[in-house]
Symmetry: C2
Amino acid sequence: MILDKVNSPGDLKCLNLEELNTLADEMREFIIKKVNATGGHMGPNLGILETTIAMHYVFNSPVDKIVFDVSHQCYPHKILTGRKEGFTNPDMYFKYTGYTAPEESEHDIFKVGHTSTSVSLACGLAKARDLKGGCENVIALIGDGSLSGGEAFEGLDNAADLASNIIIIVNDNDMSIAENHGGLYKNLKELRESKGKCECNFFKSLGFDYIYVDEGNNIQEVIKALQKVKDINHPVVVHIKTLKGHGLKQAEQNKEAFHWIVPGMLDEQQSAPTVLPEDYNSVTKEFIMKKARQDKTLVVVNPATPGVHGFDPEFRQKLGRQYVDVGIAEEHAIAFSSALAKAGAKPVLAIMTSFVQRTYDQISQDLCLNNSPLTMLVYWGGLSNADATHLGSYDISMISNIPNIVYLAPASKEEYLAMLEYSYNQTEHSVAIRVPNTELISTGKKDDTDYSILNKYKVEYEGEKIAILGLGNFFKLAQDVKDEIKTKLNIDATLINPRFITGTDDELLENLKKNHQLVITLEDGILDGGFGEKIARYYGNSDMKVLNFGGKKEFTDRVPLEELYRRYHLTKELIVDDVKNCL
Amino acid sequence: MILDKVNSPGDLKCLNLEELNTLADEMREFIIKKVNATGGHMGPNLGILETTIAMHYVFNSPVDKIVFDVSHQCYPHKILTGRKEGFTNPDMYFKYTGYTAPEESEHDIFKVGHTSTSVSLACGLAKARDLKGGCENVIALIGDGSLSGGEAFEGLDNAADLASNIIIIVNDNDMSIAENHGGLYKNLKELRESKGKCECNFFKSLGFDYIYVDEGNNIQEVIKALQKVKDINHPVVVHIKTLKGHGLKQAEQNKEAFHWIVPGMLDEQQSAPTVLPEDYNSVTKEFIMKKARQDKTLVVVNPATPGVHGFDPEFRQKLGRQYVDVGIAEEHAIAFSSALAKAGAKPVLAIMTSFVQRTYDQISQDLCLNNSPLTMLVYWGGLSNADATHLGSYDISMISNIPNIVYLAPASKEEYLAMLEYSYNQTEHSVAIRVPNTELISTGKKDDTDYSILNKYKVEYEGEKIAILGLGNFFKLAQDVKDEIKTKLNIDATLINPRFITGTDDELLENLKKNHQLVITLEDGILDGGFGEKIARYYGNSDMKVLNFGGKKEFTDRVPLEELYRRYHLTKELIVDDVKNCL
């Protein structure tokens, strides 16, 4: 096996073209096998395989610096930079992350998992090099949809101005996670069709030198192009056309489904689709479809993550012009939706917690300052075993401290539907709903709460001495804690479902003082800046004791959820221990 | 006076060209007089005057929708839309804000004050129109530097894809607040020089139809262009070359100084520059200049706001390649600086509180997750009488709940210098310093604190019963409160200068329990998600009472600071009243 001889990029340089091609085949096989076993990004890594070999053949990493955008397409890079065991040895499959990670290798410069950052980061490396008098190449590898993010443009605009070496490799596979949208992608198409020769050229307009490579999955062609730009003394874009999923038939044919796959996807037998159990995604889709049929101004807005929300191609097609995928452009998604609402349409914006972080200012200025009645659905909020780049536990602290927005945390299907209905029909507030990331919980009882009365918490059980506020995802835990307190401490605790994240129910909190001595708060997110601290502040001048339970402000990286729950005292046993110590 | 006859845009339509030109002269005179009296945006409004008249002559606002980017260039628009008294009558000078404000007029669609948002907002209006079957024109007026912001690009990319009417007017005055930077502005220059005919055209590359207007301060020429695009059925860019400060010699000649002026700037006599008193800007500049001479890898990074920091042209010139203005591109500024730091250079990033909001995700992902040792100076943090669009009171809640970053709040010149020195020399953390927005306070005593020992608060005076934590700007207030408590309550309170915003000094807080019964926190920002709540959470399970003082989570709009202090109980008298009630 050629791969046996390759332990670092330097080892590539003595291989001939035939060997490089054989190496590509070997790597492809390992990637397919590994990703199918563990789940992960399949299409992006197969598409970029040959380019990665060519990059490491031509350049001299880690002296030359390669910055991967999103870095979900770094698997071939990992194989070539001393981490092949993570792909060849099933026992090591989980040793390395799916993203670049400086702690793993000197060939990884940044920890990256969000899109559109590589050009800015490369600019910084290039500027530092120039100040220090170095002469290494600085390369940003961007593409697979991430060019549409504003940060990428800010980076390109500045990179073009650099009077020295910076090489932007655009991996153009004509795809984002789903299909691409936007004027830029039309230009890329024209460039591909004219083999880089059409009159309008986005990159040239910004002042970049430009090279087009039509066969981006042909190692020899990519090597030729990169050799031309190596040690170049000015900014250049190398536009490489690749095939997402290259070399795996299913992935080539179904690019969206194979962008990121669950384990075993290749092994699954073709069978008639079974009826899927109801979950929060299906409930959401059903609500949207029903409303969309009644009201032609309902528009679903989504920044390039339809899969997360279960917005499958059939659903999107049915919605037609009432579905807008704005591409990877979260800032635009917020401003666009705000204006839709302002103009009397009914936008429903679906966005992931980890990516809503890209829109603080837009939520504040474009949305909340204008009080646009948007319905924003925030998915995957909560502690998780995710990569450090994709944590979902910061949304409460980010969103809930912005004025005017109403951020809601439903604890059941019925509450969720009532909140959707409320948000959809009202015109007073920007409303965000934290879609539960739990299994679907149904009370079986319609929720007839009037959510227009803001910040009214629901007392689910009136007890004494201890009051438990269990927010959204953690309401179930609060119920368990209540039972545990009864068993262990023989106290009949009060159980409260706050539902409103963005404000305190002062009347209720005041009343609790009468026959309670301890309030505990449970939230599925970090404590800093979160819900519980507001309760602690409220009771600061009183005799009421307050215990806040939630996550710690830290970047956790693929830590199993059970371990996080232990670490943060988020099991009923640990919580009741803390309660005992406090009484 | 022609202006006497103009009370709404409709009144323009019966004027002939000569009358329109006279009207422009009248409006110019009023704008100059008013802005010189009150302070405000001079150059931008003089530059856009003729275009605004042409827009309202050709289009039919408020049926046709005009969205102003940043909206600091909306003064002529306000004059033409029923608010001329705000310019002609000195008693009414302060009646209207300097930005578009829907509460003032149906011709203002959004409250806007941050850049780069207009295209996205216009996209939303256009999409809503299409869903509702309307046929009005939707116009975004962008320019004066704001094209470089990522949100603008995301908007353009999506606007170009719209299959219906959207008109983007690019006001190209070759300036940002200071000079422009970046590849895009080179392209605009080529387009101006070729009168719109050069081969590379940024807007066409995105798929826009395109019209160039060389004489953007000639009403007739702009009218002709706008008449061509009125009721167009596809996306079009009208690129208009204007002269910033048009018609006011000083403003034409010194575009940067006249972008925004203080009252009376035109009246000032030419005189030899007097020696300015020392302030936090001068201290910062001196520190930077000293270090820059010693270390050629120091780079000052700034997103287009040099004036805020006192980075005058002389200072910038002296720094040469060690000064990088990235243009209005805050996201890039963070990622770029993070990479500079990672590569061993010494970035010092200067940014305004209100605009740091544009970078939550970049601070989290590009910077903190990578622990890049950046020095970030955050200016103008604190409560203020600013417009709702430019509040500086949200930075603590935004920045301090992100992991890894060390956010420092100095209370004196000496602490500030020691923190700068610490941050500059260390390589462990991303450090942000909240540059005091107070007058310079000097203790006269060098601060020799070792800031590498994180979260260590300084006990300035050891008393009993009550402990006062006065953060940064509010340390002075804490001193006053201490004295007031002595006078009114005869209690010798403990005085603490926390200095670290991002963490609690648990040892100190624990020790306070011994002989204190109340801790009060003072912070110059909103309470929600802020510093004080962390202290309240810490003491939640104890008998210690806690009172948090700070601002309320709300958009205040030009409310005098004294009123805010009263509203939030931020005077020593009101604080001591609350303390009395709590004891």
